[in-house]
């Protein structure tokens, strides 16, 4: 047993490098800056590139250029930076550019509190692109998750050619904790699939596939990339049926695949009539509360979501089973709870939240379950 003390941001940087990321661009912002610091220490000696952009818009733009050249790319910021990323995120969504974007959430709105945690961006990440197309959002609960989910995020970005968010929180990012590095459960590395069809059309999918094969800009075959509404050839189209096919495919490739990356932890309790549902750092207090309740003779089940978007609906329904009541705990004023209400019509769904820079304590959750 070898124990290492590590903060979440370092684990994200190490996970990215392990996943094959060799390009990082970012702009300093608390509490995400230490990812930039770690990538700057790690990438250059590996022959990789780490750049501090002139602003957030440039940082993600640098990443999109490098991704189109064939590199695995990462950027990291906090809520104010996600705001500035927004138009480039839309570009990555609509033009199928693989990228992993880390959001170390801090207390908002706006510049808010740089050194206070919150999970206030979870709906923003989902809905912060023009066009409202689906995105993938993974949420770590601890430092080990930061490593593992970052590797998953790269695999998903490469596999589905889309932006993938890691929605962390100051409370994980800048909190050091014990990890056993040799026991971290990282999946095998997945690379983007090279396009096989000739002549090459940059957005043409092979029969039965929903993700176009990739060729890099700068290779022997000419590649076109565009932020405008395009057909399979990468040129602007105004043909409604072609537009509809393209956008349906982009929606379906992500939403239709969520069962393959529905990362959840379900801790059922025998005879439980209530399930606590949580994500992020709050899931840890929720786990502590569930254990306290079981010890008090009041069995309560626990469901921790590590895939937030697309909503892992089937996994949620399976875990909830015939439980009568679901208590959704979030470090915000009520966001994801509305997805749970949508997924579980007719079920009692109650909310326990807090957004003042303080962690939600196990006792608060216990109280919400018992008397809420």
């Amino acid at each position: 047993m070898a124990l290492t003390l590590m903060e979440g941001n370092e684990a994200i940087a190490r996970g990215a490098v392990a996943a094959g990321c060799r390009f990082f661009a970012g702009y300093p912002i608390t509490p995400a800056t230490t990812i930039l610091n770690h990538m700057l220490a790690m990438l250059p000696p590996l022959g990789g590139v780490c750049i501090q952009g002139e602003d957030e818009i440039a940082s993600i733009g640098l990443c999109l250029g490098a991704s189109m050249a064939g590199m695995k790319v990462l950027t990291a910021t906090s809520g104010p930076g996600i705001s500035l990323y927004s138009e480039q995120i839309s570009f990555a969504v609509g033009s199928e550019i693989p990228i992993v974007i880390v959001d170390i959430q801090r207390l908002g709105p706006s510049t808010g509190s740089a050194t206070r945690g919150a999970d206030g961006d979870v709906n923003f990440l989902r809905w912060g692109n023009s066009g409202g197309m689906p995105v993938i959002v993974l949420a770590p609960a601890d430092v080990a998750d930061c490593y593992t989910l970052t590797v998953h995020a790269f695999n998903l970005a490469e596999q589905y050619r889309c932006p993938v968010f890691v929605a962390s929180n100051k409370e994980i990012a800048m909190t050091r904790e014990t990890v056993e590095l040799e026991h971290l459960n990282a999946p095998p590395i997945i690379e983007r699939t090279p396009a096989a069809i000739r002549p090459h059309l940059p957005f043409q999918t092979a029969a039965g596939e929903q993700v176009p094969g990739f060729l890099p800009i700068g290779g022997q075959t000419l590649v076109r990339q565009t932020s405008s509404t395009h057909g399979p050839d990468g040129y602007i189209t105004t043909e409604p049926s072609e537009i509809a096919r393209m956008l349906d495919r982009m929606k379906q490739k992500v939403e239709g695949a969520v069962e393959r990356f529905s990362f959840v932890e379900h801790v059922p309790a025998e005879g439980a009539d209530t399930l606590i549902l949580a994500y992020g750092v709050t899931a840890r207090a929720a786990g502590a509360a569930a254990r306290m309740l079981v010890r008090q003779g009041r069995p309560v089940s626990l469901l921790v979501l590590k895939t937030l978007w697309p909503v892992p609906e089937a996994a949620i329904r399976r875990a909830v089973g015939d439980v009568k009541r679901v208590v959704v705990v979030e470090m915000n004023l009520g966001q994801y709870v509305h997805e749970i209400e949508r997924v579980l019509p007719g079920r009692v769904v109650s909310f326990c939240g807090r957004m003042d820079g303080k962690l939600i304590a196990p006792e608060t959750i216990l109280e919400a379950v018992t008397h809420g």
């Binding site: 390009f23 904790e177 207090a285 502590a288 304590a361």
Partner: protein, 436 residues
């Protein structure tokens, strides 16, 4: 060399647009240079200049308004061998001004062609960053209020090593563009042209008038002597190759028995500059040497050497869920700012909790057992009080033991710093329990 123009997609500009002329000129420059399409990437953004990527048989990346230089930089850093040509209008130059400045300062080997026609053609002729105040444009009187920006002067001031200001009607424009592409560094070509669809409908502008206007300004004809320096990409790769690989993270193999079999919480309250966070990390490492799980959650202001510095530490033989403080085993009060920020916790403490109180630091009343240590009288400087307080805990066998702490110090520190730290934790006198 064959033309790189895309025969299937001929230019679609308004009749008389200088952009069309520049399209053919750029193709001529490519042919003169003997470049084939796969060696070039055209990067463009929004507006009429954003149509350029479709006219060429080259790699192409068309993105958001004003952001073309950001993608171009990423492409060039990833593929240094690629010839990257960026087209941008005066509109894109305005909205992406920060990126132009950064590109000039960075000096990556890119070529920027500013297709400057003094207005937003595509959206109805609104004023841009280069519209003269006397022009009649689609923005009412607004352009009368702002001074137009000289792209070359700005580029020069921002450090661009190469800048050309010229007319789209200049006869040797293919050579001008070729020289800019061949320049090893960031090259800006500000090409003044006519927008017949919008601008010249209401403003008399001829090729001759453009030549005269350009001629009245200080010449910008290429190399800017004062800004010559190394190209960014090559320089980056040289410096990057000299960086040393990061050592693997410290991995601790436990070798001591823990003090307690239950969760222990320690709250360090001090002032910035007291090395509170380092002491917190050392306490966690000490726990790791006893096979414990640990978490360290810090709280401090963004200012350095001013304000509170707080570290919340949990050591436990079991996985740690909640990382906050519920019932601290120990509160260490070393500085008034930290104590002030966590005042409320003192009244929740019971007799099961210990407070290590540095002499001279006031603490609110509570039920905890107080242990007073006069660090100052023992000759410790305030920046060593946090470390010394770990020595106190170890000597009292509270949360940690001396051998755990010394192993943590040896793992984290080296040389004289280590011997100084060992001296501190060995030398500190643990002080006295305050009378109940």
């Amino acid at each position: 060399m064959d033309s790189l123009l895309n025969e299937a997609r001929p230019p679609v500009f308004c009749p008389g647009c200088s952009h069309e002329r520049i399209t053919h000129t750029l193709d001529k420059a490519f042919r003169q240079m003997g470049l084939t399409g796969e060696r070039i990437c055209m990067v463009s953004d929004i507006g009429c200049s954003g149509l350029f990527d479709t006219f060429f048989h080259t790699h192409a990346l068309h993105g958001l308004h004003g952001r073309a230089l950001t993608y171009a930089a990423g492409l060039k850093l990833a593929r240094p061998e690629l010839t990257v040509v960026v087209t941008m209008g005066d509109g894109g130059q305005g909205i992406g001004g920060a990126h132009l400045l950064a590109a000039c300062r960075r000096n990556l080997n890119l070529t920027l062609l500013v297709l400057n026609n003094f207005n937003f053609g595509m959206t109805g002729g609104q004023y841009s960053a280069t519209t003269p105040p006397g022009a009649a444009v689609g923005s009412g009187f607004l352009n009368q209020l702002e001074r137009p920006l000289d792209v070359c002067e700005v580029a020069k001031a921002a450090g661009a090593p190469y800048g050309v200001r010229c007319s789209a009607y200049r006869n040797d424009l293919p050579d001008v563009i070729q020289r800019a592409i061949e320049f090893k560094g960031f090259a800006v070509v500000d090409i003044w042209g006519i927008c017949p669809g919008r601008f010249s409908k209401r403003n008399r502008l001829t090729p001759k008038a453009i030549e005269e206007s350009v001629g009245r300004l200080a010449p910008a004809e290429g190399l800017i002597a004062a800004n010559q320096r190394r190209e960014f990409g090559e320089h980056y790769r040289e410096l990057a190759a000299a960086q040393r690989a990061v050592p693997p993270p410290l991995a601790v193999t436990p070798r001591f028995a823990p003090v307690s079999a239950v969760r222990q919480e320690v709250l360090l309250l001090g002032s910035a500059g007291q090395r509170i966070l380092t002491a917190g990390e050392l306490l966690c490492l000490a726990g790791l040497y006893a096979g414990l799980k640990a978490t360290q959650k810090n709280d401090y202001d963004i200012t350095v050497l001013r304000g509170p510095s707080i570290s919340e530490l949990v050591l436990s033989p079991e996985a740690i869920g909640y990382t906050g403080m519920s019932q601290p085993t120990v509160v260490v009060a070393l500085g008034p700012e930290g104590v002030a920020r966590r005042r409320k916790i003192f009244e929740t403490l019971t007799a099961a909790s210990v407070v290590i109180q540095a002499a001279g630091v006031e603490i609110p009343a509570g039920a905890a057992r107080i242990h007073r240590v006069d660090f100052k009288a023992q000759g410790f400087k305030p920046q060593d009080w946090a470390l010394a307080s770990l020595g106190v805990l170890a000597k009292l066998n509270v949360v940690i033991r001396p051998e755990m702490l010394e192993a943590a110090l040896a793992a984290r520190l080296k040389g004289e710093v280590l011997s100084g730290a060992l001296d501190t934790v060995r030398r500190v006198a643990p002080g006295d329990w305050a009378a109940a």
